[in-house]
């Protein structure tokens, strides 16, 4: 049977069988759609990428005010454009680890305070210059200087000194940080000649493509870099078009004007997938939709009340109805499988009896006020209504107050004791916890203050032993799950779609949009 499905897959890849026919036959053999799709993707990869042609992407989020300066990139379109022409020192690998890009290898001192990156020899920029250690130093200085507007400034703060030493670059940190390679994989930190100080938006880098024309917020065209050192970049030309309107983006894919789109609206994604020439891909991600309680404000200062609310939410129902299935259930911690060093904790489920038990123990009486708004996350008022219903079956009365979108982030979020909100995930646990759960964090939107948690966070940062660190993060997640002010019912997926003219899309890299921004250089146009 296994041979049979492989045969069918090779037929499908060769175009003798449509994808739909293949899935139908695979189902007859007892394969689920997911595993059949996987077989198909593997066959396509085995058939090998093809070179040449034009790969066209229709992306959401670009604006005419965007710049080619990597320091100022804030949206998906900007990320994809930056990935075409530039490269970072290191990059996230598909298995969740770190792989070298412009740095061939790296090592840390035993105390994780001094890091040495060895540059890949013989790499040149698209203007012919060689990449030097000095360029790396200048790039880091540009992103951490006092007057920088770089989006990477936050992660550069802990770096005390960067210096060039032959073909290596040495980073000295204020305090131990085992996550430095993850931080340096940030997409803003593109290595530019002279650090990009003279002309930050020149788009001269070492990437697989060279920008030919750039009309920001409208259309960017790039051609293959003939001198690229690596093996990425199959299409001869890549065209990125900004299409901010959801319906227009889907229509552009359906009519064959683009080959790849991002942000397919979950409400229509299943309909879109039914079209014969389109495949919808869903990638689990670190972004999550949340209900946040202030742990220091009555009545939420009582952990039993917090537990009552946590047991009173129906997570699966939220994923089904708010995300239309394009997501995964949360477990009252901001960490999910898209993080490195993730440990699965016991899943908390909807349990009205336990909710009632904790409510009784808390001694709270009367209703609880939840504030929400349309822009706190897509479908937030609906999610609040679902929460209200599931709580009422546990005998807890929830009042929902709808706040105006305007001013929600300044007046309600991080201000009022119980509201809806969202978080976009961070590359590492350390980043996520430091941003929002350390007692002194600016964005500690649950007013969480746990000494043990704070100490573990600092200790884990300097721990180079992965097994020990993994255990520490698991313990921290457990503390948050059982004591924190976060109710996290769901993680939202990235929903993206590709047309049948192209191949090579892999949805397997958790937590990252469009193959971590490499869709343009890792996909190919079918001959």
């Amino acid at each position: 049977m296994n041979r049979h499905i492989q045969y069918l897959a090779s037929q499908a890849v060769a175009g003798k069988l449509s994808r739909r026919e293949f899935l139908g036959k695979a189902a007859a053999l007892g394969f689920t759609a997911v595993s059949a799709n996987l077989v198909l993707a593997n066959s396509a990869r085995a058939a090998g990428p093809q070179t040449g042609g034009t790969l066209r992407m229709g992306l959401q989020g670009g604006s005419t005010t965007d710049s080619l300066d990597p320091a100022l990139v804030t949206n998906t379109a900007g990320l994809m454009i930056t990935r075409l022409w530039g490269e970072t020192l290191v990059e996230l690998a598909e298995d969740g680890g770190i792989e070298g890009k412009l740095a061939e290898s790296y090592e840390a001192s035993a105390d994780a305070k001094t890091w040495t990156f060895k540059l890949r020899p013989g790499v040149t920029y698209s203007n012919g210059q060689n990449v030097t250690a000095d360029d790396v130093v200048k790039t880091m200085e540009r992103h951490s200087g006092e007057d920088t507007k770089s989006g990477a400034l936050g992660i550069m703060r802990g770096i005390k000194d960067v210096r060039a030493d032959g073909d290596t670059v040495v980073f000295e940190l204020d305090s131990p940080n085992a996550d430095l390679p993850y931080l340096l994989a940030d997409y803003h930190l593109i290595i530019q000649p002279g650090g990009g100080v003279d002309d930050p938006a020149a788009a001269i880098g070492t990437g697989p493509y060279i920008i030919k024309s750039a009309d920001m917020g409208v259309r960017v065209v790039a051609e293959k870099n003939p001198n690229y050192w690596g093996d990425l970049g199959y299409a001869e030309t890549v065209e990125i078009i900004v299409i901010n309107d959801d319906t227009a983006r889907v229509a552009a894919l359906q009519s064959g004007q683009v080959d790849v789109i991002d942000r397919v609206p979950p409400r229509t994604a299943k309909l879109v997938d039914r079209a014969p020439n389109i495949t919808v891909h869903s990638t689990s991600a670190a972004g999550h939709y949340v209900f946040i309680m202030h742990c220091n404000t009555a009545p939420f200062d009582n952990n039993d009340l917090r537990m009552a609310l946590k047991y009173g939410i129906n997570r699966q129902e939220m994923v089904d109805k708010i995300l239309n299935g394009y997501g995964t259930v949360g477990n009252d911690t901001p960490i999910n499988a898209s993080y490195p060093m993730y440990t699965e904790l016991e899943q908390r489920t909807f349990d009205p009896d336990k909710a009632m038990h904790h409510l009784k123990k808390s001694g709270h009486d009367g209703s609880i006020l939840l504030r929400t708004s349309d822009n706190s996350f897509p479908g937030a008022p609906d999610a609040a209504a679902l929460f209200q219903q599931s709580l009422s079956s546990a005998g807890i009365k929830l009042d929902v107050k709808r706040e105006p979108n305007d001013g929600y982030w300044s007046e309600v979020w991080n201000n009022k004791p119980f509201c809806t909100s969202y978080w976009g995930g961070r590359p590492t646990q350390d980043q996520m916890f430091t941003t929002a759960y350390l007692s002194t964090a600016d964005w500690n939107d649950t007013r969480f203050n746990n000494e043990q948690f704070d100490q573990m966070l600092i200790a884990a940062r300097g721990e180079l032993d992965v097994a020990k660190r993994t255990q520490m993060y698991a313990d921290m997640s457990t503390i948050l799950r059982d004591e924190g002010g976060l109710i996290c019912p769901m993680f939202n997926d990235f929903v993206e779609a590709t047309g049948d003219r192209v191949d090579g899309f892999v949805a397997g890299m958790p937590g990252q949009v469009l193959m971590n921004g490499y869709a343009a250089s890792k996909m190919w146009v079918k001959a």
């Binding site: 229709g58 604006s63 005419t64 005010t65 965007d66 710049s67 007057d147 507007k149 400034l153 024309s213 009309d215 920001m216 917020g217 409208v218 259309r219 078009i241 900004v242 299409i243 901010n244 309107d245 319906t247 227009a248 229509a251 552009a252 359906q254 009519s255 064959g256 004007q257 683009v258």
Partner: protein, 318 residues
């Protein structure tokens, strides 16, 4: 000087005066907008020194009147300043987009205006009979549906199902005229549907109004057929109101097509303006406002001039 030249000169001078007043209003409006430009550029990470430096650099510390005049003289010489967000020269960035907007508006007008006038004449000819009612029903329906919805419907049937024309109206310099026309076919169709009803109804009403006159009866009595009566006698006398409504709609085609630009991803001025308003890029907003005002005033001036030239009573005032 002949009275007609004098009249026209007066008209043009008035328009320029109006534009000057509007430039002051635009400038005043953008400086009383809430929010500090320097703060919104630097964002969260702003230090007091950086804010002060940037304010000095932007010249926001100078008195408003002084800033207004330096802006105005720059604008008259074609220097609209540089965009705060991208540092680009505004005049350069805008000219490209302005031509795109005009290109779309021009072709929409080329289709819509003759069609509207023809349908209007047809409706008059068959007044209260089925062609009149059908034309009115269809055009009124198309003006009543929101334009983005018409856009989506056309996109679904013509671009996705039939694949006759592309759904993304992206044009650039390397395309031939025929490619460009194919690319903008759908937005032109939507814009035509949106402006058709207004112009058609006005044509119909204006001509019907004239049709009540005694000289029309005379024309009928001397044996002309209905179309000849409408073309030779009614239409020339109805030109002024028709030109007025045509110009209003042309102005709409230039300044009011933001939604269509977004839906069809057309690189025109509307999208450019909206992006910069949301980032508080004041110089760009001022420049766009000024250009839109100039277009509006210019087209209305042309309507007035045509009205003067087509009306013997205005042409030869006593």
């Amino acid at each position: 000087m002949s009275p007609i030249v004098k009249l026209l000169a007066q008209r043009i001078a008035l328009s320029l005066l109006l534009l000057l007043l509007i430039s002051a209003v635009i400038f005043a409006g953008t400086i009383v907008l809430p929010g500090d430009v320097a703060q919104s550029i630097l964002g969260q990470s702003a230090t007091p020194e950086a804010l002060a430096n940037l304010r000095a650099e932007l010249g926001v510390n100078d008195p408003p009147v002084e800033r207004y005049f330096s802006w105005l003289f720059g604008a008259i010489q074609g220097d609209l300043g540089t965009a705060l967000t991208s540092g680009q020269d505004i005049a350069e960035a805008l000219s490209n987009r302005f031509w795109n907007t005009l290109f779309l508006a021009f072709w929409a007008a080329v289709v819509a205006v003759p069609l509207a006038i023809f349908l209007g004449l047809l409706a008059v000819r068959y007044k209260d009979r089925w062609p009149d009612k059908l034309i009115s029903a269809v055009t009124l329906a198309s003006i009543s549906i929101p334009e983005f919805l018409i856009g989506y419907v056309l996109m679904y049937f013509i671009a996705v199902k039939l694949r006759w024309f592309p759904s993304v109206a992206m044009i650039n310099d390397s395309m031939s005229l025929l490619d460009k026309l194919s690319a903008i076919a759908l937005p032109v169709a939507v814009l035509t549907l949106v402006v058709l009803a207004h112009m058609m109804r006005m044509t119909r009403a204006a001509i019907l109004n004239v049709m009540q006159s005694a000289y029309i009866e005379t024309a009928e009595l001397k044996g002309l057929n209905a179309f000849q009566v409408i073309f030779r006698h009614a239409f020339p006398n109805a030109i002024a109101p028709i030109v007025n409504v045509v110009m209003l709609n042309l102005a709409y085609l230039v300044v009011g097509v933001v939604v269509i630009e977004v839906v069809f991803v057309y690189p025109g001025m509307g999208q450019y303006l909206v992006d910069h308003v949301s980032k508080r890029d004041v110089p760009v907003v001022q420049a766009c406002g000024l250009i839109f005002a100039a277009v509006y005033i210019g087209l209305n001036m042309i309507a007035d001039i045509v009205a003067i030239l087509s009306n013997p009573r205005l042409r030869h005032p006593k």
